[in-house]
Symmetry: C2
Subunit: 204 residues, 2 copies
DNA sequence: TGTTCAACTAAACACTGTTCAGTAAATTTA
DNA sequence: TAAATTTACTGAACAGTGTTTAGTTGAACA
C-alpha cells in the first residue's frame, strides 16, 4: 500500500511549508526577526516541530539561501540572452548581480554576508550552490580571455577580482557604509563604478 | 575642592575599563560571545552598571570600533613612509588594509560588516572615523590622478571602486565564501588579485 | 547629625535557540 | 477486532541574550 509513500509526501510537504514560511518572514522582516518561534507561530505548530525537519536554524537557513541561489542563477542566465560580445556579457551579468542585490537585500545578505548558511556545511563537502553560481562567472570570463577582450589572462585571478569588486560594492551598500559617500546619488555612483571597472578591464 | 573633578575622572576611568574589557573579550572570542553579562562578569560589576556608561550594546561597540579605526588609520599612515611614487603608495596602502583585516579579523568585521556600530549613528550626523579613513584613500588617489598615474580620472568613482574591491576581497574571506576557490592557496590568490588590480589601474 | 544624591545592583521582562519527556493518534501485528 | 508498536507532535524547561526598574548603600553636603 502507498501509506509510506503518502507519509513521505506529507513529510516533504511539511518541510516545504516550514521552508516557505521561514523565507517569507525572513524576506519581510530580516534574518534577526525570523526566529524559530515566529516561524512556528505562523504555521501553527510548536517550535520543537521544526527540529524534526531541520537539524538547527543554520540548516534551515542554508535551505533558504539555496532558493536565493536558484533565483540568482536564473536571473544571471536569462540576463545574457542574445548577447554575443563577451565584454557586454560580463557587463550585463555584473548589473544583473547588482540588481538582484538591490531587489533582494535580505537574501543577498544571507547568501554572501551572514555566517549562518556556511556553518551548516560539513568540513568535508562543498558550497555547491555557491560554486554553481561562480561557474557562470567563470564561463563569461573564459569567453573574455579566449577572445582577448580582457586585460587579465588568469581565469582565477580575474574571477576573484571581479566578484570581490561587485560584492564589495553591494555589501558596503547593504551594510550602510556608503552613507553620504561623495556628493551625489550613491546608487548612481555605484553604477558608474561598475561601468568604469568594465572600461578598465577592456583591452585597448 | 576637587571632588567633582575626581568623580569625573573616576567616571572616565570606569568607561575606559568597560571599553577595554569589551574590546578584549570581543577580540578573543568574537562579537557574539562579547555579551553584556560576560563583560560585566570580567570587571566584577553587575550588567546594569554598563548601561550607566553606555546607552546600549550598539553604542558600546561603536566605541570599540572607533579604536579599530585609530589603529587602521595609524597603520595606513605609517605604511607609506618614504614612498614617493603614487602608484606604489596606493599598492602599499592596499596591502596595509589587507594586512589589518587578516591580523584583526573580528575588528575588521565590526568596522565594515556588522550592523551594530552603524545603528548607533544618529540620522543627522556622520560616520566620522569612517570618513577620516576614506580621506587617506582619497589623498592617495588624488595624487595618482594629479600625476596621471591612474586610468581613472574621477576621484569618487576611483575611491568607491578601489575600496569596494579591497573590501570585497577581505570580507568574502572573513565570511568564509572563498572555501576552495581555485586550486592553490586562497591567500596568495588574493594577493595576486591586488597586484593584478594595481596593474589594471596603472596608466600605460 | 540628618539629608541629599549618585553609584550600583537584584530581579524581572521579553526575548532567543534548543532539548527532552510525555501524549495521542495512526499503523502494524497477533 | 484487540493489543502492541511506531510516529508526529508538544509543553515545559534549560541556558542564554539585551534591557529596565525599583530599591539599597555609602559618600558628600548642609
Amino acid at each position: 500500500m502507498g501509506i509510506i509513500e503518502r507519509k513521505e509526501r506529507d513529510k516533504q510537504e511539511m518541510r516545504l511549508k516550514i521552508l516557505e514560511t521561514a523565507q517569507q518572514i525572513f524576506i519581510e522582516e530580516g534574518f534577526e526577526k525570523a526566529s524559530i518561534r515566529a516561524i512556528a507561530d505562523r504555521i501553527e505548530y510548536s517550535p520543537a516541530t521544526i527540529y524534526l525537519y531541520f537539524k538547527d536554524k543554520n540548516e534551515l537557513f542554508f535551505a533558504v539561501h539555496e532558493t536565493g541561489f536558484e533565483k540568482l542563477i536564473l536571473e544571471m542566465t536569462n540576463a545574457i540572452e542574445g548577447i554575443t560580445d563577451p565584454i557586454e556579457e560580463l557587463r550585463t551579468r555584473g548589473f544583473a548581480y547588482m540588481k538582484f542585490a538591490f531587489q533582494n537585500p535580505e537574501m543577498y545578505d544571507l547568501m554572501f554576508i551572514q555566517n549562518a548558511p556556511m556553518e551548516s556545511i560539513k568540513e568535508s563537502d562543498i558550497w555547491a550552490c555557491g560554486h554553481q553560481c561562480f561557474m557562470l562567472l567563470f564561463e563569461t570570463i573564459q569567453r573574455c580571455i579566449d577572445t582577448n577582450a580582457i586585460r587579465i589572462t588568469d581565469l582565477h585571478i580575474a574571477a576573484m577580482s571581479i566578484w570581490s569588486f561587485m560584492h564589495g560594492l553591494v555589501s558596503l551598500k547593504i551594510r550602510n557604509r556608503f552613507q553620504k559617500f561623495g556628493e551625489g546619488d550613491v546608487d548612481e555612483l555605484m553604477r558608474n563604478s561598475v561601468d568604469q571597472m568594465i572600461q578598465l578591464l577592456k583591452n585597448e
